[in-house]
């Protein structure tokens, strides 16, 4: 049967089955909640064949993490070579489409601004040991940090690679010593807490950056994330971000906004982290007209758009605004911070820090929806911009209904007033972390910190700094709610709905032609009044007729 006829048949059949669909809905929640928590489900490597507590080489006392790495590499002979090619190690990514040099090694973000030059602090989240300046050897595989991703005790931690200003280093004092032997023997596939150690804390704190990646995902209920829920599927991050030779699927530098390949051939493994790679291109079971229509929506809507009704759920707030202009205030010559926001889980968040400025936090947020073709264009350190055209997009993106690659995606927008070179119209590398008297964190002199940071990077600086308003866009893709919590049609198919103002589509319920409706309503009301008038004359004349 030709596919066209098939679909027509399906439409007809779907009607008959509408009643069955309603029945199926009553059997929610799906997937069913599991009463007993299971192990976190990782990618295809699930099911180990070795017990690391039995390895002789791990039964020693380790002085440093690097010693553990050397033990690991003695068996996992090829892993060092594989690992040193991935972005967790290189912090570098060249976008093949735009040629832009991306990655934390180069980019300026609108949170703590730049890792470049501040590696002593920021490279705590580098999957290696000791990166504090240009001297780090990226070819030394013994400096790989295996444990941060693979240890399972939860007792492993890292501290900054350089001391920094005493004003800051005090934060990292007094940590308990680590039992590296026990930690080394505990290794296994990464769990959510492993990835989360860095990815939940992007931007300088819990859920600050992404909005959809927070500590709430360490032990989430399925209502927060249907895949990761401990009372549901209990997926680890690597269940979707599958790995091949320590290269991960799913990257926000190169996003697949519209997966057209679905599950692939039978038995084929597709190295992508898209929803479609598991759920296919017709993800909704066709048991009603509505679910048939939902499958049509896949062409225009990212799955995330309907299935992540809000981000920053689960009691952990995300930052929405940051103002560096107010940074540097001191009390008795010392930096301070202020609590100002209590989030859903009861924890307090700072709304002012001398080292960073003012913040605004929020949670349970409705995303911004835009056509997105997956291509992010960054304002990098060498991008010139017009300072009169603010906010300046740190990462802008393109997308259009007509281009065949775009879908409507949800985003978290982040607005920040941040330092820039207003003379040259560029972003700046600010020297935040250091033991010298130019580091902003400890000395609070922005001009000096910028001049130092730019000089260190060998970049031109006009000497004239100011603050510009910037915006960055973060695609929302985690915290997928169970389907019973997905958006309903009216969320968008209504005047003032979530897609209000979004161009490039005709949206029934939202879109009207004012003139057509005006003429239509006048025609209907005109007919009614014509009928009334006609009837009235009939009644009056019949009344007269009786009299005459």
């Amino acid at each position: 049967m030709p596919p066209f006829l098939g679909r027509v048949l399906v439409v007809l059949l779907a009607g008959l089955l509408a009643a069955t669909g309603a029945l199926a809905q009553s059997q929610w929640p799906t997937p069913p909640a599991t009463p007993t928590p299971s192990e976190q489900i990782s990618g295809p490597l699930t099911g180990g064949t070795a017990d690391h507590t039995k390895f002789e080489i791990l039964k020693q006392t380790f002085a440093t993490g690097s010693d553990v790495t050397q033990a690991c590499l003695s068996c996992h002979t090829e892993t060092g070579g594989h690992f040193m090619r991935n972005i967790h190690w290189t912090w570098e990514y060249t976008n093949p489409a735009t040629g832009q040099q991306l990655g934390k090694k180069h980019l300026v973000n609108n949170f703590c601004t730049n890792a470049r030059g501040n590696e002593g602090m920021c490279a705590q989240c580098h999957a290696g040991y000791g990166w504090k300046d240009e001297g780090f050897d990226f070819t030394d595989e013994t400096k790989i940090d295996c444990l941060v991703c693979h240890e399972r005790t939860g007792t492993y931690y890292k501290t900054p690679n350089s001391p920094g200003s005493p004003a800051c280093s005090v934060m990292f004092e007094g940590k308990p010593p680590m039992d590296l032997t026990r930690i080394a023997q505990s290794v296994g596939l990464p769990e959510r807490a492993n990835c989360g150690a860095c990815h939940f804390n992007g931007g300088g704190g819990d859920n600050v950056k992404h909005g959809d990646l927070s500590s709430a995902l360490k032990h989430p209920p399925r209502s927060l994330d249907v895949h990761m829920g401990v009372d549901g599927l209990n997926f680890a991050c690597t269940a979707c971000h599958i790995t091949n030779k320590h290269l991960w699927a799913g990257s926000r530098y190169q996003i697949e906004a519209k997966d057209q390949d679905g599950t692939g051939l039978p038995g084929q493994r597709r190295d992508v982290a898209t929803c479609e790679s598991c759920h296919g291109l017709s993800p909704h079971e066709v048991d009603s007209i509505a679910s048939f229509k939902r499958n049509d929506h896949v062409s225009s809507l990212a799955c995330q758009t309907c299935h992540i009704p809000e981000y920053a759920r689960g009691g952990v707030a995300t930052m929405t605004h940051w103002d560096w202009r107010t940074a540097g205030k001191t009390r008795n010559g010392e930096g301070y911070h202020e609590h100002g926001y209590t989030q859903g889980n009861g924890e307090h968040r700072y709304t002012y820090k001398s080292i960073k400025g003012d913040f605004v936090y929020a949670e349970n947020l409705v995303p911004l929806y835009r056509w997105f073709d997956g291509q992010m264009n960054y304002t990098t350190i060498d991008t010139k911009f017009d300072i009169d055209r603010q906010p300046i997009a740190i990462n802008d993106f393109s997308g259009d209904r007509e281009d065949g690659r775009s879908r409507i995606w949800p985003f978290k927008p982040m607005y920040t007033w941040m330092p820039a070179d207003v003379g040259n119209g560029t972003l700046v590398y600010t020297h935040l972390w250091g033991e010298d008297d130019s580091s902003y964190w400890g000395n609070y002199d922005m001009g000096k910190a910028i001049a130092f940071g730019m000089k260190k990077a060998g970049l031109p600086y006009s000497g004239q700094y100011g603050f510009v308003e910037t915006v960055s866009y973060w695609p929302i893709t985690h915290m997928v709610a169970p389907k019973e919590d997905a958006l309903s049609c009216e969320s968008c198919h209504a005047v003032g709905g979530r897609l209000d103002g979004l161009k490039g589509l005709y949206l029934p319920g939202r879109d009207h032609n004012r003139w057509l409706d005006l003429i239509g309503v006048i025609a209907v009301l005109g007919t009614l009044s014509g009928i009334l008038g006609h009837a009235l004359i009939r009644i009056i004349s019949s009344f007269r007729g009786q009299h005459s």
Binding site: R7, S288, Y506, H512
Partner: protein, 217 residues
């Protein structure tokens, strides 16, 4: 010529009329709901109802059209000017003076000329306008990747909505017309039991009495 009560609407015709009436009501109600004029039913329910009733109506029309041509009933809808002026004059003036409707149903002309023209326009203009645009709209998933598909959809939706307004106007006038001439009930009953007063020629009367006694009272 004799006035007799003759069955002018067969069982299928009556079923067609009332099923069509019900489906059009559902379509108008759900359609204007989708348009955002009311929120008495959810969008999902409205889409389901609208799609299902539209498909059922198309099926009904397929049978109806088949029936029209196989029974030669299509001839009732052929437009004619004969008597048109009298009918028009009646609705404009005569009706107020208590005059009787000038038209007498004939065996092969059960609609007055104005009625026949109105129904014909409904059948060949308004209905096709709404079902053709509706079907193309329903199958948007097949042509959504054509260039400017979204703009075409917008145009289609406007035509579809415009036709809906026109059909609503027809429905209002159609119902009002039942109150003219005879009583509301007298107009309604033929579509329920099938029988109405028809001016028969002696030959027609003789034929019906002999060959179709069940269709004449």
């Amino acid at each position: 010529m004799t006035m007799r009560r003759v069955k002018i609407f067969s069982l299928f015709e009556r079923f067609w009329h009332w099923a069509q009436m019900a489906l059009i009501m559902v379509l108008l109600f759900s359609g204007f709901g989708l348009h955002g004029f009311h929120h008495l039913i959810g969008f999902e329910t409205a889409v389901t109802l609208h799609t299902l009733s539209a498909l059922l109506l198309l099926l009904l029309w397929a049978f109806g059209t088949f029936w029209l041509f196989t029974t030669r009933s299509w001839r009732h809808f052929i437009p004619t000017l004969s008597g048109m002026w009298k009918v028009f004059h009646f609705y404009s003036f005569g009706i107020f003076k208590g005059e009787h409707h000038p038209y007498r149903k004939a065996y092969w002309r059960k609609h007055n000329p104005l009625q026949a023209l109105a129904y014909l326009m409904l059948k060949i203009v308004l209905f096709p306008l709404i079902w053709i645009t509706g079907l193309i709209y329903l199958f948007y998933f097949l042509w959504r990747d054509m260039p400017h598909a979204s703009e075409w959809l917008t145009g289609l939706a406007y035509v579809h909505t415009g036709a809906a307004y026109a059909i609503l106007v027809f429905v209002l006038v159609h119902i009002y017309m039942l109150t003219t001439g005879h009583s509301f009930k007298e107009h309604l009953m033929p579509m329920i039991n099938g029988f109405d007063d028809v001016d028969l020629t002696p030959e027609e009367e003789a034929y019906l009495l002999k060959d179709e006694p069940e269709n004449i009272r």
